[in-house]
Amino acid sequence: MTTLTPILSRNWDRPDSFTIDGYRATGGYEALRRALTMDPDSIVDLVKQSGLRGRGGAGFPTGMKWGFLPKDNPNPRYLVVNADESEPGTCKDIPLMLANPHVLVEGVAIAAYAIRSQQAFIYVRGEVVHVVRRLRQAVADAYEAGLLGKDVLGSGFDLDVVVHSGAGAYICGEETALLDSLEGYRGQPRLKPPFPAVAGLYASPTVVNNVESIASVPGIVANGAEWFTSMGTEKSAGFGFFSLSGHVTNPGQYEAPLGITLRELLDMAGGIREGHRLKFWTPGGSSTPIFTEEHLDTPLDFESVGAAGSMLGTRALQIFDETTCVVRAVGRWIAFYAHESCGKCTPCREGNFWMVQVLDRLERGEGTEADIDKLLQICDNLLGRSFCALGDGATSPVMSSIKHFRQEYVDHFEKGGCPFDHSRSTLWADRPTTEEGGNR
């Protein structure tokens, strides 16, 4: 049986977990102290040995990414933390930064030292004002304590950290769009290559990493690569947040080794809400093909989820029971992609616009069999043909839902409307009615 491994969330039950004192009381900033005695390259090696893979969705090996920075480029190097967290379902970085911003700040200091950068940015989505407050306070307190700024802990290493708020655009989570946004432009993806490692922020060598990736680094430095690889699987080492949401008895953050299964997580979380059963779920956010009951025992690691036809993504497990209309769910996701498409390339800009029209029609019961094929056709023009992964991601819910639930699309037009009672899906559906509306 797999058990939970609270590491980043270990101190979250302390009311002062977000303060520098609260963090230090649980060993915070000791890893930085140790890192500063090490050769920067040996920290990169350590992170390579740990097998840490990016926690922002794509799973690229973090140490390898750091190793890509060219040695001969005279420009300054930058570290950029991707705290844009906007992929539907993904809800791990925000509570982490609210409860323990210092573990991120410590990770930033270690990572910047390792890649020989003296300027880091934390690009946080703007729609979370209290997280911005906490991050800024954490950075200010770290400066005050000599953990950032000139001559960090007397080591001779200088580091400046800027907390930068975005302004509402999912696409700015894509790393090159993020860099454009951070440079003060519209957030539109750049052609790769060159990759950010070679020409990133201000065309200088840049590392972009997810919040959870960077926050995992202090633990690796403190406890060693073997500690990290003692969790997870051979190719998906370590731990991560599994974020359960939706029709589950106890939704929330479950920090566990990669490779845990949804069945195990549901056991811990009290199962699907009482009286209902699992219908479909996303393993890693809305851009990852949906799974069904059939995948309850799929180990949630990069390889196994991939082999089963989806992606581990951000481990955002959105769980829907039998009261949920899959056509409605997918239609809403596609409305999101259409809204968030940056408009740079035609397949995504047009494809998502048209998918919204077709899905609306189908949901209202006015579609036809040809509409289902039309959706698959549009997906065919999107997948692999769009400029960035936003376009690819949009095809995931559409194609996977048609694969698993084609009949439900058909039911809509055969019955001339949605066969589901949406009120049965709500949080309060099974609560006793107490008063007018009954919705306390």
Partner: protein, 246 residues
Amino acid sequence: MSESNENNPVEIPEVFTDEVVARLEQDAKEIVSRYPKPRSALLPLLHLVQSEEGHVSAEGMRFCADQLGITLAEVKAVATFYTMYRRDPGGDYQVGVCTNTLCAVMGGDEIFSALKEHLDLANGETTGDGKVTLEHVECNAACDFAPVVMVNWEFFDNQTPATAKQLVDDLRLGADVAPTRGPASLCTWKQASRVLAGFDDGRAGEGVQAAGPSLAGLRIADRNGWTAPDPNNLPTRPDQGEEGAK
């Protein structure tokens, strides 16, 4: 210069007086100084002018352009790309109901309809008293607290139509309202915009560190005595041999 919008005839006072510009220039200097290249300051500068005016007007954009030595058209191209910049005046409290799939299914749609009816507003409209602007928003990284309502980008978790109606009533009455995870009381839209521009309001220490679902896994681990591996006594990984496979 103030423009009035045909659909939304609001008197716009002259905001960018010389005195205001002088003050904002100080702030702008501080923002620009944080970055290796000035243009990086554009998003925070737009948050700054929004904190002054409540939205981003042509004058506000002109101010940003002047600070950075770029054209108004360049600023406009950026300001219109990002959804958080209001193009028209709005209320003191922006009430955003998450209607992305997970929240919608969990009741966000019902909450949004209830508020539209209760306030007699369509998406994006503001109450006559200038207090509440209602809109639906995309996933706000709080799905484990669904359905979620954001007010001035602070979390109001696990809402229902009844609690959401109470919330907007309280906002309109000027009652003290505290987010579920956020400061001890709500600040206004303009104040929130100033925080986003990078000016602290001294409230980082208020509010909970974590709540409910954020602690779900930790509580179960505590109850079962589960911890991360001890680095001085490492277990064998389950896929690495017999002893580990327990």
